[in-house]
Symmetry: C2
Subunit: 325 residues, 2 copies
């Protein structure tokens, strides 16, 4: 048994197109790294959090990675699974984590999900992988609940498992692994302005949506899922339309309209908000177009809103969270 592991969990795009709280995908980078090592005292300790500019709690009961790790640890202790895997010997009582944020906070790229997933995966790896990867999802969600209040799995599921995931329902979690067209490329741009997920969600609370808006998203959801099975990127692009949430959140993202127009002008097949923003993503059918689209989006953020930004361009991450030591 190793006494120390290091895992990576990728960023993700949730609220994908028409799929608010339902559809998400993992990207190759950025992502978070969590190291875990054996510890004789019970429970989870956090030795360090780096890369967060001092913004994240190091209290393991308030840190999402700590909560997810503790959830896995408690499950393993309860089931005796960890003991079995370490050859019947009494497993260590606890875990010490080091959380390395390697992606922006409150970016709309699933930062808290990546940390939660990494925390859960690290503990499972440390104890010899007693649980299947899928079984870690509820533990990652326990972590996310600390950050977001609500538990929606459209960040954590793809960050953990890779690919494009839909969540049909939650009682129990009914996860659908959608096909990923090989040519699909993403251009993701994170402008330097902060949108708090909780504030973005407050816009929706207590609000009633006309049936027509739900119908428009349902039609686009049918198109989006069909497009994935068919590998029809044109259909995928035109199905990236959100009539429910995007219209309300546009004011939170300065320059969004210009950015979307720039993306389309540069050849994007579709463009929308990533998560609750401020990151914006676009889809394209090849690397060259995706790079051109990302550059156009960055220019538009600068020109229309004076915002600096980072861009990430690449395919869907098919692997999800993984060991990296």
């Amino acid at each position: 048994m190793e006494r120390r592991v290091r895992v990576f969990a990728p960023a993700s795009i949730s609220n994908l197109g028409p799929g608010f709280d339902v559809l998400g995908l993992a990207i190759e980078r950025p992502g978070d790294v969590v190291e875990a090592e054996w510890r004789d005292e019970p429970g989870v300790a956090i030795a360090a959090v780096t890369g967060d500019g001092g913004l994240l709690p190091t209290d393991p009961e308030r840190n999402v990675a700590g909560v997810a790790a503790a959830s896995v640890l408690a499950h393993l202790a309860g089931s005796g699974a960890a003991a079995e895997k370490v050859g019947g010997a009494r497993p260590p009582q606890g875990v010490c984590l080091r959380v390395h944020k390697q992606m922006p906070l409150a970016s709309g790229l699933g930062s808290s999900a990546a940390s939660s997933v990494a925390g859960a995966l690290a503990v499972n790896e440390l104890f010899g992988r007693p649980l299947a990867k899928e079984a870690l999802l509820p533990h990652a969600l326990a972590g996310e609940r600390v950050a977001c209040g609500a538990t929606h799995a459209d960040n954590a599921a793809p960050s953990l498992l890779g690919g494009i995931k839909a969540i049909r329902g939650y009682a129990p979690i009914d996860l659908i692994d959608l096909p990923v067209p090989p040519a699909l490329r993403l251009a993701v741009v994170h402008p330097h302005v902060e949108v708090q997920t909780a504030a973005a969600r407050r816009l929706l609370r207590g609000r009633g949506f006309p049936i027509e808006q739900a119908v428009a998203n349902l039609g686009n959801m049918a198109g989006f899922v069909s497009a994935l099975y068919r590998g029809d990127l044109e259909l995928l692009g035109r199905s990236i339309e959100d009539h429910l949430v995007e219209p309300l959140r546009i004011p939170l993202i300065p320059g969004f309209a210009a950015v979307k127009e720039a993306a389309r002008g540069a050849g994007a097949l579709g463009c929308s908000i990533s998560g609750s923003g401020p990151s914006v993503f676009a889809v394209a059918g090849d690397d060259e177009t995706a790079a051109r689209v990302a550059a156009a989006m960055q220019h538009a953020f600068a020109d229309a809103a004076g915002l600096e930004s980072e861009a990430y361009v690449g395919p869907v991450n098919l692997e999800g969270a993984k060991r990296v030591d």
Copy 2:
């Protein structure tokens, strides 16, 4: 050139599962028959409407089949397509229709769509099929608009073209032909109680739906469409959940809760309202189960609400509307 044709357009299940106004499928029976023949006077006349108990207008400008037929006729006259097809000879000025209702009105089975589709198809067939079948959809919708006010294509598209259809959007109509799992069977029960589509739609007007209800339907839509591509009837069944409209319309259908429970008890994979009701449909994976489910639903309507009913059991209609002379 023939001077007389006879066409059949099948009934359909719209508002399919989570897909209010978006998803529909055609069934083998019942359906409507429309006969059309050449007429020297301009425009559309209706010589007879049968099977409607005297309830439908025979005025061609108020009868859905008449309106759809007139729409095709005007299009052909404008384009000269009909003249071309009849060998350059001047085509007849008009069309005389006989509309044979062979399905119940206000049943939730797409009665007005079937008549509209049959009216449109009959004229196109009469003039030698100048238009592709798909091109008849806007004309059928012009007919339906007379009956329903709103124009949603989830009855007319499958009635015309067969299969399971999703409508991604309307500007322009973006129709998605979904795969039909070969084992899929439907049990459809029409209880003898009337639900007016317009009244059922009024329940939705001006109402605001919480985002959570839309999210629940979006997740089920992702599941439903995935299930069709995968041929996964279990997933299909559990995706037949409507959190938006079904809860509001249950009171319009006496005995609905008992009928749904009976369907599940008899082996149905899923069960919901067809169109705006009162018909109810269930899905099953083989003929025997579907027949058992239909019988159980009929018994439940009788026991729980004292309602007589008809049942239709069979596969999805893959062919859609067609010549039957």
